[in-house]
Structures are given as C-alpha cells and as structure tokens.
Symmetry: C2
Subunit: 247 residues, 2 copies
DNA sequence: CGGCGATTTGATAATGGTCAAGTGCCGTGG
DNA sequence: CCACGGCACTTGACCATTATCAAATCGCCG
C-alpha cells in the first residue's frame, strides 16, 4: 500500500508531536496520502488561480508559498519543510490566491479533499490538528508582516534565520544550531521584501558580527543569543508547544 | 435570551452569505454568543500572551489585530468589522501572539471555546465555516505581507483602501464606494509599515490624483477603476464568493 | 476660551534601491 | 582535461523613497 511508504512517517510523526494518536486515528491517517511523487527543484506544485481538488504534504525537501503582484514583483510568504501541508486552505477556499513551488527536489504526498473532509468529520481531533496547522501558518504570515513592516533589514534578516533554525530543529532537520537551508540570496530577498544586493550586504554584516556562517546551503548560527537579540525573536508565534501540553 | 438580541444577526447573516443554513444550524448558532457587551474605543479585548477560553465576535464597530515588537514598534495586521471573529485562532492555539483592540466603540459577543468545539463536532458544516473564516484572515495577512513587502507607499496605501471598501461593501457597510472608516493616519501608518508623516503625504497625493476624498471618518472613492489600478488590487484573496456558489 | 490630539508642512538624513560590472563556482561538452 | 557558459554572489557608485525631527495649524470637546 503506497501510504505505508516510509515517507508518510514525516506527516504522522509530526501530528504525533501535537496530539497523542490513538490506533484508530493512526489507521485513518495511514490511508491518507494516496499519491506520492517526486518533483524536481523550482517547479510549481499549484498556481495562483488554481482550484485544486487535493492538498499536498511535503514529505521531503524544501518548498515555498509565493504571490506575484500585477507589477510582476514576487513575495515569498512561507517556507515549507518535511511534514508541512502548505495548501490546506484549498479545502475550504476554492480559488488559490498563491502559488506553491519546490525550492529543492521534493517528495510530495497528495491527499484528495474528499478524503480529508471525511477524515475531519469522523475524527474531529484530527480535523482540529489540520485546522491548527492552517492557524500556525496564519501566525507565520502575520509575523512575516511584522518583520517586513517594522524591522530594518539587519534584524529582519536575522529574524528569518531565527525562525528557520527553530522550525528546522522542530522537525529534526537541524544539528544543534546548524541546518541545511538551500535558498539563494534572491529568494531570501523575495521573502524579506529586500533586493538581492542588499540581502548580500546584510548577510556580510551578520557574518562580520560573528552571528552566522553561511556557505552554500549550510547555515550555521555561531551566536544564537546574539542572533536572537538582533532579531528581537520570540518563537511564541510558531506555536511549537504541542496541544497535549496545552490541554 | 441574550443570544436572541438583534446584534447576533450580524454573525448569522454573515454565515448565511457563506452557506445556506438549515433550521437546526440556525438554532445551534442562536445559542452561541452567551455574553454580549459594549466596549469603548481604544481598549484591548485580548492581549499578546493571553490564553483565552472564549472567542469574540464583532457585532458592531471597528477593531484591529496588532502585534508589538520588542523594539516597541506596532504592526496592525487586520481590521475587523461587523460579523468578524478575530480570535478564533485561540480555539486551537492556546497562547495568543497578537492583541485585539477596539478602534471605535464596539458591541462584542463572546463565545466560550467549549461551546464552539461542541458546535463544530455536531455541525461539521458550521465548523467548516469557522475554519474558513480563519483561512480568509490568513489570506488577508498574506496579502498585507505582499503589500508591505512589494508595493511602494502610493500603491500600498491605495491597496489598503481598496480592500477596505470591498470588505465594507460585503457586510453592507458601504454606500456605493463610500464608507465610514474612522482610523487615524497614525493607525494607517501602523497598518502599512509607514510613518504617519508619510501616510499624510501619500493621502494628499491620492486626493490630488482625484482618486479619493477622505474627511474625518468618511472615506469616499471618487475613481474606483483608478484606485484599483494604482493599487494593483485583485480581490480574489478576500474569498467573498460564498461556499454555496463554490460547491 | 483653552487644550489636546490629529493633521499638515518643511528641512534634513538615512536606509535601502538601482544600475552596472566583475568574480567565483560548478556542470556540461568538446 | 580544459574551455565555456550560466548562475549566484560580490562590489561600487549613485539615487530615491521614506524616515526623522521639529514646529505650525486645524478641529473638536470640555
């Protein structure tokens, strides 16, 4: 059964960090991703204007959500890592107002909306976890808005790196304060509302300040308290505290 | 019964624009807001860091969601009008990462999370509508991020005004392309990531360009196509198309 | 009438954008 | 194995948008 592929574990594992799964729920979840596929880097998974009939899980790789304005300018509004479900919104809002694209080669799982709806009805707790997932993204969008609207380039960039490290740690993709973060400076610019030229200069400042080390895809935070302070980073908005603790 | 107060109609009416309500659902909804209250202008309803046990509906007035950074800078991330439920997020994420405040005197309804959870379990369609509400906000946050990250002051301000007019129209608070929008230029600045001085100058440009007329609380769009074009405004992200049409 | 907040204006400064060119890195193909 | 091409990164010079600071005016409410 395709859904028993080891890839699925990323989704189940993630949900298991949020609530304690019963065997029945685990069984219902294992039936979920009905179609698993590999996608090359820099491919659109869904596009602005689409009306998808399924949602995707990132099982491996790095993806992002982005929007293009009528002037042709692009804003990246979130990065997606293992276990993330970036377009759950389409379950309740028919027309997509953003695109999702791969940034590296990815393994993706696709889940038909019909199956998701039935899952939510039969397993309200699981429905709640999916709802929660969309709320965490809403919180991330809001924090990025704060970041772009209120922080200057240096702390803005630092903030994005703080978020990245913490989220990577949360899904087990970080080694201490190091992780692989294979984005170009142009992509970073699209995420921070800056130009790639200025991103370049800010990264040099961050390096000179001894806060980070970033070579190729390898991001290393040399001074976590320093970076965190430079960013004014407060991880509350990531809501990493599991529901089981919250209850 | 308090919940039958005429104020509630704003919530029921709004939901009725999204799905066709059955009598049973209508009955379940009428039991919802258990506590209705009046709040003065410029009061916090909930604060960053709170762990609310209820969510509020705006029954009358104007409210906003805002976040304050560690540097003391404030970002407004959404406005809330009649029928909106601004802090549904607390139903699934225990700690609030934003504040909600009134901008004018408001009538608010409070709905205990327990009652909401039961409602969602017993009436999945209503649960879906509430989920949808949170997704629309997520889309608004994302669009504001695009706005602040990618548009210059002039179109950014125009965009915010376009959104305002369209949302006001959607809840019947606009008269053609005019509506009451009682925010100060300082508040507009906090919403657009600009300074109030610059907001002032941009508003003068918008007036000189014959696009708007704004005196006190009364916002009037004189040239809707012009404003829309200046903003690069595409209302898709507001998802005003009801679910009943979408299905 | 007085006072306070909101709006407006002016002068100046700075953050970050634009443009342009050069360097380094890596995979492809001769 | 080396040359080439392309893309990402880097650098410099210059410019524009927008912030900052300060003060004046307007308008409303007590």
């Amino acid at each position: 059964m395709a859904s028993l592929a080891s890839h699925d574990y990323s989704l189940v594992n993630k949900i298991a960090t949020i609530i304690d799964l019963t065997d029945v729920e685990r069984g219902a979840l294992s039936l979920l991703p009905t179609y698993i596929t590999n996608v090359r880097a820099d491919q659109d998974i869904v596009r602005q204007g689409d009306r998808p009939t399924r949602s995707c899980v990132v099982l491996e790789g790095l993806a992002c959500t982005s929007t293009v304005t009528s002037q042709g300018r692009r804003q990246i509004s979130a990065f997606h890592v293992r276990g993330d479900i970036p377009d759950l919104q389409s379950l309740h809002l028919s027309t997509l107002d953003f695109s999702i694209s791969t940034m590296t080669p990815c393994v993706l799982g696709f889940m038909p909306h019909e199956g998701l709806r039935i899952l939510c009805e039969n397993h309200p707790r699981l429905g709640g976890v999916l709802w929660r997932e969309t709320l965490v993204y809403a919180a991330i969008f809001r924090e990025w808005l704060v970041n772009v609207g209120q922080r200057e380039a240096f702390s803005r960039t630092a903030h994005l790196l703080c978020e990245t490290i913490v989220r990577m740690q949360a899904v087990g993709l970080a080694d201490g304060y190091s992780c692989s973060f294979p984005v170009t400076q142009t992509e970073l610019a699209d995420a921070t509302g800056m130009t790639s030229v200025h991103v370049n200069r800010v990264l040099q400042q961050l390096r000179k300040a001894g806060l980070i080390n970033w070579k190729g895809a390898d991001l290393e935070v040399l001074d976590w308290p320093g970076l965190r302070q430079a960013a004014g980073f407060d991880p509350t908005y990531l809501h990493l505290e599991p529901m089981k603790l919250a209850a």
